[in-house]
């Protein structure tokens, strides 16, 4: 085995070209990592919105809350099911109405689709209180147009400040509270008394969904059997986390596919850069290679040594690229969630999966860029090479 110190010092000896190559690889790794971070962030936000201990009722076949409707009778019937948890004689259930409405952005860039969620006091107190915490102000009172807004929506829209007022559906919606839903999609929503929302938007007589707490997560199949057997209300039930994950699927796939295509195009350039650098390394070290071969190092050993050297470049690129990308770990971005067509705020999320994925991508570029120069190095005829 040719010592790794030989490769490291050979790279250091040509630090300018090696540095430029590492930088090129790092840029591609950073783009790739940022794409993964965005996709992970979206998944985390939407998956985090749901809990496996909860179940959500939707209209049969509805793929999102937006196109779902549950009759009030149906909600009442299913909330009374024995598989639904009870607290103080009341079902732990939150029937909710989900409406999207256009609200002007404060930055003057026009209106955005914003989600309004109608909720009941019981639903909030029994089911949502632990995950959707009022951090400023207070809870809206029942029977009023008061609203509370998620922290990701705070200050984004005209009137969306504590003490402010949002104008919509010929009404004023005074903002009396701000809530924190721990980075989930709820954080981008505006919450209001369900009856007020139904009247303002003419959606009386039904809810969009009803979320319930299961008596135990293992009771879900039993509840599902009940709902599937009931043909009166045309409803279906899903585990809440599964539902939100399926809603995120389209957006995650969109980001991943688009980002990966961009990263792959960039990677052609970076791989070519690595290849040129490695060819230059081989060309300038012909005598060294010939000497190694004369001393008894085999072709495959020389081949491996140059591939390792290329991988060193690419791993250095991975480290720099990941370090750069991780700086964006706190960046939040807003995108239209294809599942609901509303603006949802996501946070880029840098984790081990991103680091591993980006490093594997870098290794792939290093391998592809290094293999041909390494083959050339291994094939150099010893006699000519030793004379350099």
């Amino acid at each position: 085995m040719i010592p790794l110190s030989y490769n490291i010092r050979s790279i250091a000896r040509r630090r300018f070209s090696a540095g430029a190559t590492i930088l090129g690889l790092a840029m591609v790794v950073a783009v790739f990592a940022l794409v993964m971070m965005a996709a992970t962030g979206v998944k985390k936000t939407l998956k985090g919105t749901g809990s496996p201990a909860n179940a959500i009722f939707l209209r049969k076949g509805a793929t999102s809350e937006l196109v779902s409707a549950i009759s009030r009778d149906g909600a009442k019937t299913f909330a009374a099911d024995p598989n639904v948890a009870q607290e103080g004689g009341k079902a732990v259930a939150s029937p909710e109405l989900y409406v999207i409405a256009q609200v002007d952005r404060v930055d003057g860039s026009g209106p955005a689709n914003v989600a309004f969620r109608g909720f009941t006091a019981d639903g909030y107190n029994l089911l949502r209180k632990d995950t959707v915490k009022v951090v400023q102000g207070r809870l809206p009172r029942e029977g009023t147009s008061e609203v509370m807004i998620g922290k990701a929506a705070l200050g984004r829209y005209v009137g969306a400040t504590l003490g402010g007022s949002i104008k919509k559906a010929r009404r004023e919606w005074p903002v009396v509270g701000v809530f924190d839903a721990d980075g989930s999609a709820f954080d981008s929503e505006i919450w209001v008394d369900v009856e007020q929302l139904a009247q303002a938007f003419n959606r009386t007589g039904f809810y969009s969904t009803m979320t319930v707490k299961l008596r135990s997560p293992s009771d879900f199949p039993a509840l599902k059997a009940v709902v599937d057997a009931d043909t009166r209300f045309l409803a279906e039930v899903k585990r809440e986390d599964d539902y939100y994950e399926s809603v995120s699927g389209g957006l995650t796939a969109f980001i991943t596919i688009l980002g990966t295509i961009i990263a792959i195009f960039f990677s052609f350039g970076a791989t070519l850069g690595a290849m040129i650098t490695m060819y230059a390394q081989v060309a300038s070290r012909v005598r060294e290679i010939g000497t190694l071969r004369a001393l008894g190092f085999r072709r495959r050993t020389v081949l491996l040594s140059f591939i390792i050297e290329s991988l060193m470049l690419s791993l250095a690129g991975a480290v720099v690229g990941c370090a750069f990308a991780s700086l964006f770990g706190l960046v939040k971005f807003t995108m239209v969630n294809f599942g609901t067509f509303t603006e949802t705020r996501f946070q880029l999320s840098f984790g081990p999966n991103v680091a591993i994925g980006a490093s594997l991508f870098a290794i792939f570029m290093g391998l592809v860029g290094g293999i041909l120069p390494a083959i050339r190095a291994a094939r150099i005829p010893i006699v000519e090479a030793t004379k350099g």
Partner: protein
């Protein structure tokens, strides 16, 4: 050093033909040669006489077109590429005209290179490297890279590298060709010592008559034929 009469190199009807621009160029033509174990032989001849080619064949870095070539008890011409590499590591120590040290490694690391192909432990390798560098008088230059050494010192490091794995034969291609007179003398003195006191078989190619005088046997090649 007197030889024991046993041949370490046996060459019979050796031919080496290169093809250049579809023209066949005969570099070595029917060479027969025996080199005794413990000999110090000089191969002389004008440029293009085939002396370096013959040395490369003996060292196993080139393959003959025809004939047999037994070195250190092995028919080198029959070995595969990989087998020849392993054979070289075991039997051949190289000294090149331009030293051929790896520029990014220290003297110590350069000398250690052939030992990386053996099963010796790190401590054993270190011990051997220090002995070899001591033999060539460079114990105080172990951490120096080739750039920090003079030409003569670099060639002495190369000699330490050639002998560190205790090879059967040391092959030297114009070992003094790039050195000033004083350094050349030191190198020749070192080779003589290796031959006389350690019994190393040395085959040296040189076009310098003075250098050849250090050898115990001088042979001349002319137009691919030993004269």
């Amino acid at each position: 050093m007197t030889t024991n009469g046993k041949s370490i190199v046996e060459i019979r009807n050796l031919r080496k033909v290169y093809t250049r621009d579809r023209q066949e160029v005969v570099v070595l033509d029917g060479i027969n040669l025996d080199i005794a174990e413990g000999a110090f032989e000089a191969l002389m001849g004008p440029s293009g006489s085939g002396k370096s080619t013959l040395l490369n064949l003996i060292a196993g870095i080139d393959a003959p077109t025809a004939g047999t070539l037994r070195v250190a008890g092995e028919d080198v011409s029959q070995l595969s590429e990989g087998q020849r590499a392993a054979w070289r590591a075991r039997h051949i120590g190289f000294i090149f005209q331009f030293y051929n040290l790896l520029p990014v490694l220290s003297a110590e690391e350069n000398v250690e290179m052939p030992l990386l192909l053996t099963s010796l432990s790190g401590a054993e390798r270190k011990k051997r490297v220090h002995t070899a560098l001591g033999l060539v008088g460079l114990s105080d230059r172990m951490d120096h890279t080739p750039k920090q050494l003079s030409g003569g010192q670099q060639q002495r490091v190369a000699i330490a590298r050639a002998l560190v794995a205790d090879p059967t034969i040391i092959v030297a291609d114009e070992p003094t060709g790039d050195l000033d007179r004083k350094s050349a003398e030191e190198v020749l003195q070192l080779l003589t010592t290796l031959n006389k006191t350690m019994g190393k078989t040395i085959v040296m190619v040189t076009h310098d008559a003075h250098a050849a005088e250090a050898a115990t046997v001088q042979r001349r090649l002319d137009k691919g034929v030993l004269t």
